[in-house]
């Protein structure tokens, strides 16, 4: 097996990965991005409504501390306040950098970046009414951001391994991460990519659910690799169900629609969010809106012959606003819902959208584990940023527009920190042949296996289990049933068989490897979801309906070794502002 060496290797070519790569490429260190798709095909491209940040355009008095307050509240108080402080305060600088790179933001009459209202936003620490803090490029902000980052990586001559797939982490005898095993999809060649710093920016894993806004490629590859390497996973029970996925298709309709004045209606045409969130109404936290929608459906007020969805009304905004501010939504709605939003409401239903959990990291992107005393320990050589990381700025519920900010700020922070570390000198012992062999084992076993089940039915079975047992509302008994089903599925997933053994562009091989990553992510989700016996943020239990700060004002940690669950403290000590104390969360 060939070895290729770099100072820094970034796995994933989405927003987080390309922002980290840009930072490292500009520093002159030998940097490579491994991406399983051409970078502009990454899922960041699907982000629509915008990137939330207190740049004081819509409101000259806006303050990043207000954004921080909203984010802490939105997280249902298990977001780390030092990390949220960092994200909200550094955010404006990161946004202006993107604008200087060429990102085509929409504009105000003053020529500044256009900002729209999004859910969970307030002025003056919740006291000053709705804020408009989400910077937008029409409703194609993710596309504009991803292409801008790719373009600037081209400018800085970043080395891209496009259509390469990272299989597993290589660890040396000290347990430090020293690179990955990767496959060139086009040729099938397997290579050891050696690196002093390995950054996971592999994105989410929404494909663990049958119904998701996520791209086909969101298969939790970073989570799978991390869990197999003994890295813990944090807050994996926290999955965001976006209120407005197009009914039937699952494709996303941005919260920006409600920011621009759209609202949800039930079969009676009633604007039902007025009952559930009298102040914020349709712009309450996503968890709150998604649950309200399910309640409407369960109580018989859903739309359609099966009463299984509600509708998003936009026609009152007028054709001009819709075509100028929400052109992508008009297009998606016509294509996937066969509905013209200028004329009639769009059928929508809560749909799996975002993984709040992930690999625990500090604000420098360093991956963390805990020792036997429960103290944080940095895992040498491994970093994570973006959706795969849990730094944690989203806690139990992410605010709309905060994911793009997260990936830009922490992609950048990871790059900055690695650059500094490389300058100071990173000394990691080389991997031995047996270390490399160990990391190649899974791939080797797949290539050698002669019989087993094929990938598609196994994947469908996994997605159905997650959809049915770990959805918007959860109960202990039903989850335990789901966990048992997963346990019996594990052996079959591990024995998945290739439909195709050729070397050239073998997508069947990639799908098998992805399925195993999906499975690891799903099982971690299931086991911690059952363990957290309270309701908080996106984790809503019918059998434990209240938030339990006594026992659960903390992160959950899942350890693949023994499938254990432990707890990890939340950071309540920001550096420049007073702690935001937990209080009842209402909108």
């Amino acid at each position: 097996m060939r070895t290729i060496s770099f100072d820094g290797v970034i796995v994933g070519g989405g927003g987080a990965g390309m922002r980290a790569a840009l930072q490292l490429a500009q520093s002159g260190y030998k940097t490579a991005v491994i991406s399983k798709v051409f970078p502009t095909r990454s899922h960041t491209v699907s982000a629509q409504g915008g990137i939330t940040c207190a740049i004081a355009s819509a409101d000259p008095n806006d303050d990043w501390r207000w954004h921080m307050y909203d984010t802490v509240k939105g997280s249902d108080y298990i977001g780390d306040q030092d990390a949220i402080e960092y994200m909200c305060s550094v955010g404006p600088e990161a946004i202006f950098e993107l604008e200087h790179m060429g990102l085509p933001f929409s504009r105000t009459e003053e020529g500044r970046i256009y900002q729209r209202p999004f859910g969970g936003q307030s002025k003056n620490y919740g006291e000053g009414g709705q804020a408009a803090r989400t910077c937008a490029a029409a409703d194609r902000t993710g596309h504009a951001l991803l292409h801008t980052l790719y373009q600037n990586n081209v400018k800085n001559e970043t080395v891209f391994f496009n259509e390469w797939f990272a299989v597993d982490l290589v660890k040396n005898q000290d347990g430090a991460v020293v690179g990955v095993i990767a496959i060139c999809i086009e040729t099938g060649e397997t290579v050891y990519v050696k690196s002093k710093a390995t950054v996971f920016a592999t994105g989410g894993a929404g494909r663990i659910y049958a119904s998701t806004t996520n791209a086909h490629i969101n298969t939790g590859d970073g989570m799978g690799m991390a869990l197999r390497a003994g890295v813990p996973a944090q807050d994996m029970e926290m999955w965001q169900f976006h209120p407005t996925g197009i009914y039937g298709a699952g494709t996303l309709v941005t919260e920006g629609c409600r920011g621009e004045g759209g609202y949800l209606i039930n079969k009676d045409g009633e604007r039902f969010m007025e009952r559930y969130a009298p102040n914020a109404k349709d712009l309450a936290g996503r968890d709150v809106v998604a649950r309200s929608m399910i309640m409407e459906i369960l109580e018989g007020r859903g739309c359609g012959p099966n009463g299984d969805h509600v509708k998003l009304k936009l026609d009152h905004l007028g054709e001009e606003v819709l075509e100028s501010r929400l052109p992508g939504i008009c297009e998606l709605s016509r294509t996937f819902a066969h509905v013209d939003p200028v004329k009639e409401p769009i059928p929508v239903v809560p749909t799996c959208h975002y993984m709040m959990g992930g690999i625990p990291t500090n604000i420098h992107g360093q991956a963390l584990t805990v020792d036997s005393e429960g103290n944080d320990r940095v895992i040498p050589g491994l970093y994570a940023c973006g959706e795969v990381a849990c730094v944690s700025v989203h806690g139990a519920n992410r605010l709309g527009g905060n994911s793009l900010l997260d990936l830009v700020v922490f992609g950048r922070a990871s790059g900055l920190f690695i650059e500094k570390s490389l300058r100071e000198g990173i000394e990691l012992r080389d991997a031995s042949q047996s270390d490399i062999d160990a990391a190649s084992e899974r791939l080797q076993a797949l290539n050698d296996r002669a019989s087993g089940e094929s990938v598609a039915p196994l994947r469908r079975e996994l997605q159905e289990i997650m959809q049915n047992h770990f959805g918007v509302f959860r109960t202990g008994e039903f989850m335990r049933d789901g966990i048992a089903k997963l346990a019996s599925l594990r052996e079959r997933v591990e024995a998945v068989v290739l439909a195709d053994r050729s070397s050239a562009f073998n997508t069947s091989r990639i799908e098998c490897l992805e399925l195993q990553n999906l499975f690891e992510t799903a099982e971690a989700t299931a086991i911690v979801a059952e363990a957290r016996d309270e309701s908080r943020g996106a984790h809503a239990r019918d059998d434990f309906t209240e938030r339990d700060d006594q026992n659960w004002l903390c992160h959950s940690l899942y350890h693949s070794d023994g499938q254990r669950v432990s707890k990890r403290g939340v950071n309540f000590t920001p550096h420049t502002v007073e702690t935001f104390q937990p209080k009842a969360r209402s909108y």
Binding site: V37, S46, E99, G102, R107, E110, Q151, H216, S502, S503
Partner: protein, 235 residues
């Protein structure tokens, strides 16, 4: 049963490409073409090879030749694609085939990179964003939305003939996206790089690019603007 004919080619086992037929049960649903490919891969033949990612028409992975016309499989409904109950799917024309429906896009990307597709501004950046009026920003509409799916360039006869020298509609659309940006100061250098008989002037206004663009963009119009800028620069 829908009759689907797929272009197949595996460089390791096939001397030449061939068409393979599948009968697919769509259960009467108006699926997208990508859904049909997914059905075939899951239930008929796991070795069928194609690219896909977002499945909503924004990532540009699944540009294919569908019943003779380039388009994105994920947003092409059967009701608009199928003729006489038959669906013929081939790779995008004019680029080397790696396997089945997967083409080698290197040339396409190289032409994109040639236009220096990034903002260049020689003045020091301000502490906040550079200001741009809504009218100036509106100049970028219809340009920045390109998803690099290559449907346009691979439907262009001029690109088929000179894929190494004619930038092609996708690359030129992006060239104009930066020429049109009020924040970009490299107009002269950009035009100088394009000022040769091939880069721009191989466009003969055939407009295949406009007809196939899944995002409804108009590269021919952008090329016309560049042409105008080059001509006025020469006089």
């Amino acid at each position: 049963m829908l009759q689907v004919s797929l272009y197949r080619y595996n460089p390791e086992t096939d001397d030449a490409p061939y068409m393979q037929d599948f009968s697919v049960d769509t259960e009467g649903r108006d699926l997208m073409v990508l859904d049909v490919l997914e059905l075939i891969k899951a239930e008929h033949d796991g070795s069928v090879t194609y690219r896909r990612s977002c499945r909503e028409g924004v990532c540009g992975s699944d540009g294919l030749n569908i019943n003779g016309k380039n388009g994105l499989a994920c947003i092409s409904p059967l009701s608009e694609s199928v003729k006489n109950n038959k669906l013929v799917i081939r790779p995008l024309p004019g680029l080397p085939v790696i396997r089945d429906l997967v083409v080698d896009m290197s040339l396409f990307y190289a032409q994109y990179e040639k236009v220096q597709p990034y903002l260049q501004n020689a003045t020091p950046a301000p502490a906040i964003e550079r200001l741009q009026s809504p009218e100036e920003r509106a100049q970028l509409d219809g340009l920045y939305e390109c998803i690099l799916c290559a449907c346009c360039s691979t439907s262009c006869p001029s690109f088929w003939w000179n894929p190494d020298r004619f930038i092609g509609p996708a690359g030129l659309l992006q060239a104009y996206r930066f020429l049109a940006d009020s924040r970009d100061t490299a107009t002269e250098e950009r035009l100088a790089k394009l000022d040769d008989p091939f880069s721009v002037f191989r466009c003969h206004g055939i407009q295949n690019c406009v007809n196939v663009c899944p995002k409804g963009l108009n590269p021919t119009k952008a090329i016309g603007h560049i042409r105008g800028m080059l001509l006025s620069r020469a006089t």
